[in-house]
Amino acid sequence: MAVRNTRKVLAMAGVIAVLASAAACGSSKKSTSNNGATNPVTTATSSSAPIKPGGVAHIAEWAPGTSPDAIWPFMTSDQLSTSNAGQFQYFFYRPLYFVGLNDKLAVNYDMGPASQPTWSSDGLTITVPLKSTWGWSNGEKLTGQDVQFWLNMLKAEEKQSGYYSPPNAAAQVNYLPDNIKSTQVTDSSISITFDQQYNQNYIVGNALQTVTPMPLAWDVTDGKGTKGKCSTDTLTSPTLQADCDAVFKYLNTAGKDVKTFASNPLWKIVDGPWVLKDFNATSGAFSIVPNTKFTGEHKPYLDEVDFEAFQSPDAEWTVLKAGSTAPNALQIGVYPNADTPQYNGDNLQAGNPLASAGYNVEKGALLDSIGYYQVNFGSKNHGNLFKQAYFTKALQDEMDQQGAIKGPYKGWGYPTTGVVPGYPDGNTLSPAAKAAAAKYDPAEAKSIMTAHGWDLSTTPATCKSPGTGDNQCGAGINAGDKAEFTLEYPSAHPALDTVLAAYKQAAAGAGISVNVVTKTQNTLGGELTACSASTPAGCQWDAILYGGWVFSLQPTTDSLLTTGAGSNIFGFSDPKFDAAVAKTIKSSDPQAWYDYEAYASSISLPLIWMHNNIWPWAVAKNFHDSGQDAFQGFEPEFWYYTQ
């Protein structure tokens, strides 16, 4: 149910994963569970051998056929992805605040240029102190102006930028930069005054974590180095648009020219721990070496990391099978599903097919994500069916997440419990949310359908009691209407075939006929539009499994589920839900989350929860892998060979 590092997108409120959200890397913590054999969410692996500095590591972490396609950390909508950001750009250019490390849901102040912020007493102004030691490899010191440069660019290029979201009227919130009233810049800080009070954790962990300071050396309009004015403007400068347009045009062109990623002097100016050494435009393979002028806390151990490109999982598997000491051996790779050992938390190495080849199995990180398939409230054929809370409850009751994890996914997964991820630890979960966690209960599904006036003597069941009463089929459903719909999902995923065949069979037990259809991932992506007069194709689809959602630090669904939100293609609209979401963004009070979770679990959401995957990584026995973080990034500065 997941593909590794496929194109995923950052949004103001979150990062979206393709295919039910999951991609991870080996973690570095000791097992802490006694019942790990049945509970993969509590177990990880470890490497505690002494560090052997230096060396070149060969890594296969980008999914076959995928590679970075943007190096400038100001991506357009078609470029923005967690792969480009957390698995490429962040090596060189650090966001203001770096969220995650391993599976911790927290801001890691060690990893970025900004220290812990302070807030004004009225809660409107945040002051972000910049570390005095943090600087660029060309000798520039990192200042507030560098942050302003990025914000100015966002303000001027909001139509092009992937980071921009229009104001959310339903939740009554604005996003960067629309929510900024003013900024004040010094050499050692930037103060930002917002239009209203926001949840302070949300501002740091969701908003400012997308901001990546840019060196003033990038404020140029051409290859000759003609100086621009985008960095020196303010957000209200009348010339901002023209000033930034010129710089954007130049940097955007340079930032997507894959052939010059490694040779363009612009991209050699870095503030992260690494600098790009080589980039193969044909295959997407690339190498990074330490930034010798890096002034941050965590300097790399390795001399070089080569991210290899493979054209198929099988080709990667061949290299792994050849052994960790063979020429061109990989230090980190991924087990293909067919060769993944059954998960055994007590002994992760049990059944490891690469044990003799010199590799350990390591458990990937749990992402701050929700897995689901989505239903279309705007579907012209079955939208009314999906709007019934009892019907989506029945659909959820038929989804056997644990069965999927233990069966075709061989134990490598964790369930989605509700609208706020229950795993990994760290999110604010109310007792009500825990009690309402999604569960597999076919008997209840059958009972629900019967209780709401459906004749289950045939499949699909037919509505025999139309009407809006508690024991009737619901608004818009007529007598004789059938409980059926089409669920589309990505092709070429055998484990998904098994999961959805079981789901189809289970749903039939409750009289619900699910017509499962496979299509390519991109074809499904093309179908996903909201039902409207201008996009009538959005009224055609019933249900699609396209991918889950990986959140930013605060798991709010403002970009996904509020009325009119960019990613709300489901035709879902509920003013009370919008208000509950708004509170999670505006208030730091945990009760806001409790209320939101309670309300979300009481209504029909257009999302049917499915499990998230955990990636089984093959890591050379003489190599330490720090693991992917809960937001899909990698931190190779923590990798090293062991003695």
């Binding site: 080709a315 050849a322 996903l528």
Partner: protein, 315 residues
């Protein structure tokens, strides 16, 4: 001959025109368009409109097609892939070399082996040699390329380490400078190719051996060698020329399965990845290139007929 070539040229232009329209049209049938798929979950109406404008997809289809055709015909510019951020011409340049090298080598060895094998089988029809080669051919023909490739790779590279594994063959230079890395992909293609070609050659030889002119040549005292190689083989090669001519598109079409198995960044992998990612500009480019070479291959085959068989007149 000149008239024939001119006529064929115009036929080819019409064929390519139809192929281009069909391909261009089909690739634009995607629901909600290419830009929607490119945006994934970054989609919103504004981002879609911006990207459609950037890609020129907000213009009428006929205008888009005309612009594409204009660039192709005037500048041989196959377009720009916004997903790969490279021109299609550059991508083809970077991937075509290694694909042509592998497929070309495979084609050469296939012909070099299958012709003598076919001749051998025909001249020793219904002997142990014939049966043995036939058995081999049937088995080799029945084994799928992907299976054979995986077996060869696992035996020679993984189990016995007889050939080191290269993480990636991503340029012609990488392919040319590592001849060891070419052995298995080429062998995979050759085994499958020889199985089919040798059967054709055998049949063709047997057809010719029973012709009257062979009996006449023998009656006139020609040696067996002269009859076989001077008369029979030349005529038996005619059907093979058609096969070889129609195999030429594989030079630019690549060998997708072999490229995937042996991690070769060739044109086959480029095309399939582009198709999966709805990168229609690349698919259009590779399709057109393949169509052009198919037309040329067919023309070469026809001309070769005339060279091999004086009775054939190209008019």
């Amino acid at each position: 001959m000149t008239t024939y070539l001119i006529r064929r040229f115009f036929q080819s232009v019409v064929t390519l025109f139809i192929v281009s329209i069909a391909t261009f049209g089909m690739l634009h049938l995607m629901p909600n368009g290419v830009a929607r798929a490119m945006l994934g979950k970054n989609y919103n109406p504004t981002s879609l409109a911006t990207l459609n404008h950037k890609l020129g997809l907000d213009r009428p289809l006929i205008v888009q097609y005309w612009n594409w055709l204009d660039r192709l015909v005037i500048h041989f510019d196959l377009g720009y892939s916004y997903q790969r951020n490279q021109s299609v011409n550059d991508l083809l340049k970077e991937t075509l070399g290694q694909s042509m090298y592998i497929v070309g080598l495979a084609l050469f060895f296939t012909i070099a082996l299958s012709v003598p094998l076919g001749v051998l089988q025909a001249t020793r029809r219904n002997t142990v040699t014939d049966y043995t080669i036939t058995t081999f051919s049937f088995i080799a023909y029945a084994v799928p390329v992907f299976f054979l490739g995986v077996v060869l790779r696992d035996v020679f590279q993984v189990q016995f380490h007889l050939i080191p594994i290269a993480n990636q063959i991503d340029s012609f230079h990488a392919a040319f400078s590592q001849p060891g890395q070419m052995i298995l992909p080429v062998a995979t293609l050759v085994v499958s190719g020889v199985a089919g070609y040798s059967r054709y050659m055998r049949s063709s030889m047997l057809d010719e051996i029973t012709q009257d002119y062979v009996r006449t040549a023998v009656a006139k005292g020609a040696t067996k060698r002269r009859v076989l190689y001077g008369h029979v083989l030349r005529n038996a090669m005619i059907p093979m020329v058609t096969l070889i001519g129609l195999s030429l598109p594989a030079l630019v079409g690549g060998a997708l399965l072999v490229e995937q198995i042996f991690n070769i960044q060739g044109i086959g992998v480029l095309t399939i990845n582009a198709a999966l990612q709805n990168d229609f500009v690349i698919v259009l480019g590779t399709t057109m290139l393949t169509a052009i070479v198919t037309v040329i291959g067919s023309l070469i085959a026809d001309i070769s007929y005339a060279a091999l068989d004086p009775r054939v007149r190209l008019t």
